[in-house]
């Protein structure tokens, strides 16, 4: 998050012809054969350079910022939309519920990665123009939106189930007897009771969103160049894995470490709030 405070260069800047001191000798960042330098373990090119002479450590910091930002914002989007849909379905039941159930089935039936890649590549070329709203093709908004929509059923289904049970409880009836309107009952009486469900889901949603972003970027449909994310860095690394394996190992390891710690954190939250809940992680 504080990448710009720490970094000595920008993630886009390349140092193709630069020389740096390694063990007291000046060394090319990229050698004559185009092979980038490996980890130097010193302040510049700490983890080495990539094929364009860009500092991996710096790109890692900026890329991580994008990965985390997308993960968080997409999960928040899922939560807002999922809560709204789940509340509507659970509270109004009947036709609304049937329609919402069908809608969720449709989202569920989309092959997630295929849809994400389809939208991502199509939008990356031309961007999106919806009335007054214009989104640039290389904007981070596109992967965020795609990921947020795809995971709605994961949240909306459990929320609907909880609301169905909650709406029959005494405190809701009491509110109704006091003459409260539906909107107030839904938002000020029922919604606070859903917080634990949301708190259990949030870390898992972030984990899934980060992994899906990485997968989309890996297939070229997520974050667009020159922006970096861990997914795009792995994709670049895999292409040169034979000459410079550190290009793929480093961002991958960062991704695993981040996701793993989030998953462990999520596990802890779940144990505290909801020991019996069965929550799934899926890509």
């Amino acid at each position: 998050m504080w990448a710009n405070e720490v970094a000595h260069t920008t993630p886009e800047a390349n140092h193709l012809t630069d020389k740096i001191e390694v063990d007291g000798r000046p060394t090319d960042v990229i050698d004559e054969l185009g092979k980038p330098i490996g980890p130097t373990w010193s302040s510049r090119f700490f983890l080495g350079a990539d094929g364009n002479g860009r500092d991996i450590m710096v790109r890692l910091l900026y890329g991580g910022r994008n990965s985390l930002l997308i993960g968080l914002l997409a999960s928040l989007g899922t939560i807002v939309l999922g809560l709204l849909i789940g509340l509507l379905a659970g509270y109004y039941r009947g036709r609304v519920d049937a329609f919402v159930g069908w809608l969720l089935d449709v989202i569920w039936a989309f092959p997630v990665i295929l849809l994400g890649v389809a939208l991502g590549t199509a939008l990356a070329v031309g961007g999106l123009e919806l009335g007054p709203l214009t989104i640039e093709g290389d904007s981070l908004t596109i992967p965020i939106l795609i990921i947020a929509i795809v995971y709605i059923p994961y949240l909306a289904r459990p929320v609907r189930g909880r609301v169905l049970a909650l709406r029959e409880r005494e405190f809701v009836e009491a509110a109704r007897a006091q003459g409260m309107g539906s909107a107030r009952i839904v938002f000020s009486e029922i919604m606070p009771n859903l917080l634990s469900t949301v708190a259990v889901m949030l870390p898992l949603l972030v984990v899934n969103a980060i992994l899906l972003e990485a997968a989309l970027s890996f297939l070229g449909a997520g974050v667009q160049a020159p922006n970096a994310s861990w997914g795009t860095m792995i994709a670049e690394g895999v292409e040169r894995i034979i000459s410079a394996p550190h290009l793929a190992i480093v961002p991958g390891a960062m991704l695993v470490a981040t996701v793993l710690s989030l998953a462990v954190f999520g596990e802890g939250v779940r144990k505290v709030l909801d020991p019996k809940a069965e929550v799934r992680i899926e890509h």
């Binding site: 039936a109 890649v117 389809a118 031309g126 793929a248 069965e278």
Partner: protein, 324 residues
């Protein structure tokens, strides 16, 4: 299996068809609304003349309203005459070419993940709280956190290219050489299976522990049945139900596009890779074909799971649509 069951199955099939219709319409709309360039102009070659473009537009029906184009595309999809804009090859044939590869990958991987998940889940439950159980738990979390494509690339590079233990990618037809076929699929199977081993073994472990506390299990023990018999006949039998449900959903999802990353990393040339290529070229007919193929498997396996549940538990039928 009465008329109630039959009604349930019919209702499930109708909703399945509606979902598939919606998916196809949305995908078609997306690719027609989004500025991907006029397909007629691209097909006409590098320096198109206006008359050439017009001719192509007429021949392929691009001048007709969107809903007519949609209806024609769907009609061709079902009769198997859908032709790619880009390669001019038949889409159904291409999907059928890739399908055996994707199926070989998905079926093999699911055997691997079920076998490992059951073994590890049972072991963890029996050794509950011991060092080995905790280690397995940690390993499962690592497996869940690993991006498939990264794991695949690492395995392919280190075990394939560097050590030469396995081929680093590619696919060999089973009929050409069964041993080579198997050899080429070992790494992709494990790559795809790791995530699911992590999830399933944890679900199974939790369920086995819960079942072991049930009265009928204690009764079986009290009858003097051997520990092995109790575990297999009474505990495992019950605990397998949630796992098999998950398997139904995940297997459908893997066939329907979940295998795309593994196929890509190991260049297996299955349906997933065909899909990725088609999407990259905004090849609408191919994309439609592939998405419908994927959605079909997801929906069918969802329905199968629902129906199997309803057959086992009559309460679900009475409730109508059971919330998932």
């Amino acid at each position: 299996m009465g008329s109630g069951m039959a009604r349930f199955v019919v209702r499930r099939l109708v909703s399945m068809a509606l979902v598939l219709f919606a998916v196809s319409a949305i995908v078609f709309a997306i690719f027609n609304v989004i500025p991907g360039g006029d397909p007629a102009v691209r097909m006409a070659g590098k320096i198109p003349t206006e008359t050439q473009v017009e001719a192509i537009r007429e021949e392929w029906g691009f001048d007709e309203p969107v809903y007519v184009q949609y209806a024609k595309t769907m009609e061709k999809l079902f009769s198997g005459d859908l032709i790619s804009y880009y390669t001019q090859l038949n889409v159904t044939d291409e999907i059928l070419n890739g399908a055996p590869r994707t199926f070989a990958l998905a079926i093999g991987a699911s055997i691997v993940w079920m076998a490992f998940a059951i073994a590890l889940g049972l072991y963890g439950a029996i050794r509950q709280g011991a060092m080995s159980d905790r280690l397995l738990n940690a390993l499962a979390l690592v497996g869940i956190s690993m991006p498939v494509f990264w794991l695949g690339a690492m395995l392919s590079h280190y075990l394939g290219t560097e050590l030469g233990l396995f081929p680093s990618g590619g696919y060999v037809e089973f009929l050409d050489s069964p041993s080579e076929w198997l050899w080429h699929l070992v790494l992709p199977w494990f790559t795809l299976a790791v995530l699911f081993i992590g999830i399933y073994s944890r679900v199974l472990r939790a369920d086995v522990i819960e079942t072991m506390g049930e009265d009928y299990v204690r009764a079986a023990r009290a009858k003097g049945l051997s520990e092995r018999r109790v575990m297999v006949r009474h505990v495992l039998r019950n605990s397998l139900i949630p796992i098999v449900t998950l398997w139904g959903l995940d297997f459908g999802a893997v066939l329907g596009g979940g295998a795309i990353l593994t196929e890509q990393v190991f260049s297996l040339q299955g349906v997933g890779q065909y899909a990725a290529d088609a999407i990259g070229q905004s090849d609408v007919p191919a994309v439609m074909g592939v998405v419908m193929y994927g959605a079909f498997f997801i929906v069918v396996f969802n329905a199968l799971v629902d129906i199997a549940y309803a057959a086992l538990d009559p309460r679900i039928r009475l409730e109508g649509r059971a919330g998932k």
